[in-house]
């Protein structure tokens, strides 16, 4: 895997909601660097600030203080227009509730971001066809979201997130609405994303989706409290965990 210079960086990132004594510090001076090609999972209890952090990384909200940089360039001061363009061209979002367009078919949902970014209909359709195949839903191309299961909808949403070959994929509880079988399909896709060197940040409660990442960070009360690299080789404990070993 090619882990290079930071693709995303934050410095002293703060987010406060409200004022005075009622103010809530959702993020408290967060410093983060995500390398190009790295997958990062951020876990923590509800209200720990992990979703806020994801929104700031994706330019969906602006911080109260501090910096967000993408490829070394600050994005927290961009105009609304420039931010919208950045979100469209450089970032793929995957949400818990899928956020597909109900009136568009699976393949139309997937090609939409490419069309909005100015790709020709032919190019957009070709790319969407490849993506649909990569998530194993070629035979569902003409289905509306209402005719798809939750797991299939999320796979379409993941394919859509990849439509513009984004620098960064941001996923907010991608398995939050899925049963265990559908979760397994989504786990495989995220494991594939890691293997292909796509830069990904996932925020989640779900240990299984977090466990697909290269690196894990735990948050509490708006700050990072623990960090572990998950892909530095074997712990050598698998036999003991399976109950195979003597003693």
């Amino acid at each position: 895997m090619d882990i290079g210079r930071p693709l995303v960086q934050t410095h002293g990132l703060r987010m406060d909601y409200g004022h005075g004594t009622g103010a809530v510090h959702a993020l408290d001076a967060v410093d983060l660097a995500v390398a190009a090609g790295e997958t990062l999972a951020i876990m923590g209890p509800s209200g720990c600030g992990k979703s806020t952090l994801l929104h700031l990384l994706g330019g969906l909200e602006r911080p109260s203080a501090g910096e967000v940089r993408l490829q070394g360039e600050r994005i927290d001061h961009l105009s609304e227009r420039a931010l919208a363009r950045l979100r469209r061209d450089a970032i793929g979002f995957v949400f818990q509730a899928f956020h597909l367009m109900d009136e568009l078919t699976a393949i139309e949902n997937i090609e939409l971001p490419a069309l909005l970014a100015g790709a020709s209909p032919r190019t957009a359709r070709r790319r969407a066809t490849e993506l649909l195949d990569s998530v194993g839903l070629t035979d569902r191309a003409a289905h509306l979201p209402s005719a798809l299961s939750g797991g299939q909808r999320q796979r379409v949403a993941i394919a859509r997130a990849l439509s513009n070959e984004p620098l960064l994929v941001l996923a907010d509880e991608p398995t939050g609405n899925l049963d265990s079988t559908a979760t397994l399909d989504v786990l495989r896709l995220f494991d594939d994303l890691r293997a292909t060197g796509q830069t990904v940040v996932i925020v989640t409660h779900d240990a299984r989706i977090a466990a697909t990442a290269d690196r894990l960070i735990s948050m509490r009360d708006g700050a990072f409290v623990e960090e572990t690299r998950l892909t530095h080789g074997s712990t050598g404990r698998l036999g003991a965990l399976a109950g195979l070993e003597e003693g």
Binding site: R208, A211, E226, T228, G233, S234, G236, G243, G247
Partner: protein, 194 residues
């Protein structure tokens, strides 16, 4: 803190000793008499990646012991070009032992008592922040979960070893749920104590 890293390239060269190996080998002989190397191959099929670190000699040492104890009967067959020349068959006593093992409902599990008492002691004696201890433990368990899950995802569909790895993953998920309960409890106790 415990690290999830290292050890990938240097498994202990002797490998690990399989638990309840006598019963497992007896059970593998219940259908047909087999050579030692055939038993090893069946174990490898059932265990997948977990068989890689198995101690190579344990099967043969154990078979010799079972023979001595009258639970298997070794018959020499004259094949000088084979890895071993003995075929092992289950005896009546051996079959009784297998049946007793199948009926045994003991269920080895990681006991939460030790970790629980660690947290109680840390909080009571002010040795450390229990919430912090839970965070560190949670990451150690998550590193194990990541390894087991990657191994499970790498198994071809329908492989028996995939089912074993799924069992490991589900157990670790249960441990993580309990650790979350620990974190909630000790967070609330720490807040009250302020």
């Amino acid at each position: 803190m415990p690290r999830a890293v290292g050890a990938a390239s240097k498994e202990p060269s002797h490998g690990y000793q399989l638990r309840v190996v006598q019963e497992i080998l007896l059970a593998l002989l219940a259908k047909d008499a087999s050579h030692g190397y055939q038993l090893r191959a069946r174990l490898q099929l059932a265990l997948g990646p977990l068989a890689e670190a198995l101690n190579a000699g344990q099967v043969y040492v154990t078979l010799a012991r079972l023979d001595k104890a009258g639970l298997v009967r070794a018959e020499h067959v004259g094949q000088s070009d084979r890895p071993d020349r003995k075929v092992y068959a289950l005896t009546e006593d051996g079959r009784a032992r297998v049946m007793a093992w199948l009926d045994d409902t003991s269920w080895p599990k990681p006991a939460p008592a030790e970790f629980h008492l660690k947290l109680v002691a840390a909080a009571t004696a002010g040795l450390g922040d229990p919430v912090r201890i839970v965070d560190v433990q949670r990451h150690a368990v998550l590193a194990n979960l990541a390894e087991a899950q990657r191994a499970a995802l790498a198994q071809p569909d329908g492989a028996a070893a995939g089912l074993l790895l799924e069992g490991v993953v589900l157990r670790l998920q249960a441990d993580l749920q309990w650790l979350e309960a620990c974190a909630r409890y000790w967070s609330s106790m720490t807040t009250k104590g302020r």
